[in-house]
Symmetry: C2
Subunit: 278 residues, 2 copies
């Protein structure tokens, strides 16, 4: 599939004024009609990156304020500080119809490719996954070399090529693993390369790991998501791991790691989410 890629169309923003960008929450990047949180973060970062004038979102935090159906939006942002290493920005993602703020973001942009590697020490590894080509895709429509599955995956999964670790999709088949952990491969369905902007989507593109335990069912709304982009991904699918350790007092955290095909950590994420009320 040649460019333009779906993700680029879905995150395109047009500058309409100083610090004001117009765009759209596109259909098909949602879970049951509510746009995916990582997609919304990427949409806002797409505009803030223009404001920052630096290529990579290094650390991005979003607070989710309201459900986000498809429709026209604006991102209204500004540079807080433009320094040597970072341009730090903030912005609102606003639904134009009704002037309703959906998300507030603070993000520092920099140039990850220009940073010298220096001292390195890694206490962790990519998840152990079968080869990408041998893994079933969550795409509903099928297609791709290995065919698709029909596991009740949301519309978002048609845009992506997410391939879960064997067994981790158990929740969709009535066979929860009992462990709040999900791992698998991430790619785009149209083979768009994953750049640092797309890593923001990756950080929220997997099913909640708690779907694999006997927690009361229901959606797990994100209150806040922070993504640290730790490197520019090498070409190829990304190996991802998401896990929840602490569910208490109505809240849970979800931690993510994203590794590229060269075995390099390219993103870490953490979100605070709400436990479904019983």
């Amino acid at each position: 599939v040649p460019p333009p890629y779906e993700f680029d169309i879905a995150t395109a923003m047009t500058r309409v004024d100083e610090g004001r960008f117009a765009g759209e929450i596109h259909d098909g990047w949602d879970i049951m009609g509510n746009a995916n949180g990582g997609y919304l973060m990427a949409l806002a970062a797409s505009a803030l990156r223009e404001i920052a004038g630096r290529p990579d979102p290094v650390t991005v935090t979003a607070h989710y304020l309201a459900p986000a159906p498809a429709g026209r939006i604006e991102v209204r942002g500004e540079t807080i500080k433009s320094g040597k290493r970072f341009a730090t920005t903030t912005g609102s993602l606003v639904a134009v119809d009704g002037e309703r703020e959906l998300m507030r973001v603070v993000a520092a942009f920099g140039d990850l490719a220009s940073t010298a590697d220096g001292y390195s020490r890694m206490d962790g590894m990519p998840p152990d996954l079968p080869p990408f080509d041998d893994s079933p895709s969550r795409r509903r429509a099928g297609g791709g070399a290995t065919g698709g599955t029909s596991d009740g995956a949301p519309a978002l999964m048609d845009r992506l090529d997410v391939r879960l670790r064997p067994g981790d999709l158990g929740f969709a088949e009535g066979m929860k693993t009992g462990s709040p952990s999900i791992a698998g491969w991430f790619g785009f369905a149209d083979r768009r390369p994953v750049d640092t902007l797309a890593l923001l989507l990756v950080a929220d593109a997997f099913p909640p790991p708690v779907f694999n335990i006997e927690m009361p069912p229901g959606w797990v709304p994100t209150v806040e998501l922070t993504v640290h982009v730790r490197g520019v991904p090498a070409p190829g699918p990304l190996a991802c791991r998401f896990a929840t350790r602490f569910i208490q007092g109505g809240y849970l955290e979800e931690d993510g790691e994203v590794w590229d095909s060269s075995g390099r950590l390219v993103a870490m994420s953490r979100q605070l989410a709400l436990v479904p009320r019983t």
Copy 2:
């Protein structure tokens, strides 16, 4: 020691206008003249909490923009959204002399005590520590039941009563443990109870865990810190654990867990920090 406690004095903010609070970065909450990042977060949250009108900072993110010497500051903030469960706010901490923004914060406030416990599952435990009373304090001036130590601790440590796990202070004595992990107790020197505001300080009150590995020496400046407050602490000292897993490309993350005396997780933290340049 009777109230007013040092932390309350050091985080006192006076409302001067709609969304504008005056205060001071107090001396003695610093590391080598630069105010501690957790203290700065608590200072801003002290004002934003007034704006929010809710007792507990549930998730707070700070971007650190410039070094913060002692002096007069203002916090200028606003409510982004006041909802049923959260009041989401944002604010700037500005040094009055020179009108220099030092930190930008986004924070959601709520009422943690009012939340029903519901489903709970914990994959983790407090760190294994000797009893608080048997542990040496990092207070430079000595005092307290078990006496003090003189380990080159920064001024901040005189306000606190931080007691590290045996061996974890090795870095200060030329005996690094080789593991980027530090655990220990947190209390205030004047026995102020630790509330949810003070947990923001706790999240940044320990030495960087990387001091215990053979990384090139130097300060480890925080770019961004996010704290999730997961519960209202029970009385007594807090058991804390900080660790760094991934040092790569000039960046590292530091993750923290804070547990209260009843064995309940009360805060999780993650920060993105810079590796000292060689």
